[in-house]
């Protein structure tokens, strides 16, 4: 059926043309009665009324041909070069116009068609690549159509073969008899001039409106870019302050470490000495963590279990939280990582999963860790939460993207940055309503490392 769409379109055209012809028969009969009455009663007013009605009658009969040709060109050649539209539109209009005239069995008059085709081409050129203004252009086209069809009743253009249609001819002959040619010319121009001016104004307004919209769009784009730059700067500032803060922690830690050593030297109690050793060990650990945090390049060969210990310490199942199931393969390769940053990245991913399932009746989160043949470590964090919309998935790595109102939106951007700094990869897939799966791949430690 799809293959023969043009046959369907052609048959539809013929049926519509025939239907319009049949529907307008009572209207033409009424116009004929008005013409006869105007002659019988020598009434110019009735003739003017018949003239205006005949303009509407002729417009209605032809209008759908023009709209059909214009719309077909507009949509069939959508995205094509303008020149194709400029060639197709007149050909199609002339062919369909002739066909319509044959169906109606009336005289084909091409003088007025010339003006209509000019209007059609102007509109196609103006509204090319502005599909959103299709309806506006159709409205303007209808107005222009009425404007030029009002010229049919003027006798000024008789010598130029304008207004040689059946009803119009009857009106013009009657007008000659009643001596009302001046009145008909006046009526014709009173319709033509305001309609033309109105159409031109509408075109200008539409162009101005489209330009304003485009300018607003550009402004919004600039604002977005500015926001992005600001958020990057803000992130940098936050990190810098964090560095200072963490760095400042080192001094009190050194004090604690020093004082602990002194206590250890001055007491003989073995229990207290043990406690002091534990405090020193804890201070060393915190010191190491601070060093790792401060130095992104500081990497340590770490076992997965060690990393998970840090992660678990932060993502504590607090009773109300969903059950987080860890499935860890045995004999996993070691990884060379900045533990603090990597742990933070994993925590971010898991916390996102927890938030996603919080409204579920059966919340489920699983963390699978296994290795592949390339000695890579693969983390899969899966949840059965609300999922992420397709359009949001594309933006998820953007620095300012967030679905939460309380955070700045550094989450997944930070995760990606950390993973990529470790020569790893991260991907995310989601089905709206069915959950999300985040897959992280990290290279395992090579033998020589």
């Amino acid at each position: 059926m799809k293959k023969y769409w043009w046959i369907v379109l052609f048959i539809t055209f013929i049926l519509v043309s025939y239907a319009i012809k049949q529907l307008t028969v009572p209207f033409s009969d009424e116009i004929l009665k008005d013409i006869e009455s105007s002659i019988t009663n020598t009434n110019i007013g009735l003739l003017v009324m018949a003239a205006v009605k005949s303009v509407i009658y002729e417009s209605i009969n032809d209008l759908f041909v023009y709209i059909f040709a214009y719309s077909f060109t507009f949509y069939y050649l959508k995205g094509n070069k303008l020149i194709y539209k400029v060639i197709l539109a007149p050909i199609l209009t002339i062919v369909l116009y002739t066909l319509n005239m044959l169906i109606h069995g009336s005289i084909t008059e091409y003088a007025i068609l010339f003006f209509i085709i000019c209007c059609e081409l102007i509109l196609l050129i103006i509204f090319d690549k502005h599909e959103e203004y299709y309806l506006s252009s159709i409205f303007i086209f209808i107005q222009l159509n009425f404007a030029f069809y009002s010229l049919l009743i003027t006798t000024i253009l008789n010598d130029y073969k304008v207004g040689y249609r059946d009803l119009i001819t009857s009106i013009k002959i009657s007008s000659d008899f009643l001596g009302s040619n001046t009145v008909l010319n006046f009526v014709s121009l009173s319709l033509f001039i305001p309609l033309i001016i109105g159409s031109i104004l509408l075109i200008l307004l539409t162009i101005l409106y489209s330009r304003r919209l485009a300018s607003e769009k550009r402004e919004k784009e600039k604002e977005r870019e500015l926001r992005l730059v600001k958020s990057v700067a803000e992130e940098a500032r936050i990190w810098q302050e964090l560095h200072y803060l963490v760095h400042d922690l080192k001094s009190p830690l050194m004090t604690v470490s020093g004082l602990t050593s002194l206590i250890k030297l001055q007491v003989n109690n073995n229990h207290i000495k043990d406690y002091c050793k534990k405090v020193e060990s804890a201070v060393d650990n915190v010191n190491d963590m601070i060093s790792e945090f401060l130095n992104n390049e500081k990497r340590r060969i770490t076992a997965v279990e060690e990393l998970l210990k840090i992660v678990r310490a932060h993502v504590v199942v607090k009773g109300t939280e969903p059950n987080c199931l860890f499935e860890i393969e045995k004999d996993l390769p070691l990884i060379k990582i900045n533990r603090i940053r990597m742990a933070r990245a994993l925590i971010n991913v898991i916390e996102n999963a927890i938030r996603a399932v919080k409204d579920r009746e059966d919340p489920q989160i699983s963390v699978q860790i296994y290795s592949n043949q390339e000695n890579e470590l693969i983390f899969i964090v899966k949840d059965n939460g609300v999922g992420i919309a397709t359009e949001d998935l594309k933006k998820i790595w953007n620095i300012e993207f967030t679905t939460k109102s309380s955070t700045g939106g550094l989450g997944m951007s930070f995760v990606k940055k950390v993973i990529e700094n470790h020569q790893g990869e991260i991907s995310i897939s989601s089905n709206m309503g069915n959950g999300t799966e985040v897959m992280i791949t990290l290279p395992g430690v090579k033998d020589y490392e």
Partner: protein, 186 residues
């Protein structure tokens, strides 16, 4: 653009060319009242000619669909040619039926020895094949032809009149039809 300019100039030139001299009106009346007026082709021209006759005080009966019986007791027949498809559709007839009706009327008029006057008001506006055929049909049996014509149509009427040895008057506009029309009766 050149084609358009040539088109407009050509149209203007053709329209402004003067008609050759024709008989301005009949030197003596050829018909008597009362006249039957009908239109060949259902345009409004028949009604216009009837109205003109009323203004000229020429006793007439107008019938847009007059049949042969309507010719009884009429002493002249005026056939106004104006083929209008919408007009014919309006009374559910067609060009063939109209031709037959007009042929019958002409035959009856010929039998009764009634003079036939053909009037054409369409100028170039109704200048299509149907109208030309109707003009030929009526013209060959007419006694006098009155037509509004441009230079373009003039040759046709001249040939039609000469072929059938008919007197004819060509005028430029509808207001000038009254003089030759009046001369038919007065």
């Amino acid at each position: 653009m050149v084609i358009i300019i040539l088109f407009f100039v050509g149209c203007q030139y053709a329209a402004n060319k003067n008609l050759d001299y024709t008989l301005p009106h009949l030197p003596y009346p050829i018909a008597e009242e009362r006249a039957l007026i009908t239109v060949a082709g259902q345009g409004p021209e028949g009604l216009i000619v009837s109205k003109m006759c009323d203004q000229l005080k020429i006793s007439n009966t107008y019938g847009y669909n007059s049949q042969t019986d309507d010719l009884d007791r009429r002493k002249s027949l005026i056939i106004v040619v104006g083929v209008s498809k919408i007009g014919m559709d309006n009374i559910s007839t067609n060009i063939s039926e109209e031709k037959k009706r007009i042929s019958d009327l002409l035959a009856k008029a010929n039998d009764q020895g009634i003079p036939v006057i053909m009037v054409y008001l369409g100028k170039g506006k109704r200048w299509d094949e149907d109208n030309k055929e109707m003009l030929k049909l009526v013209g060959k049996d007419s006694d006098y032809i009155i037509a509004i014509s441009n230079k373009v149509e003039e040759a046709f009427f001249r040939e039609l009149a000469n072929e059938n040895s008919i007197q004819f008057t060509l005028v430029k506009d509808i207001q000038r039809v009254k003089i030759p029309l009046n001369s038919v009766y007065k």
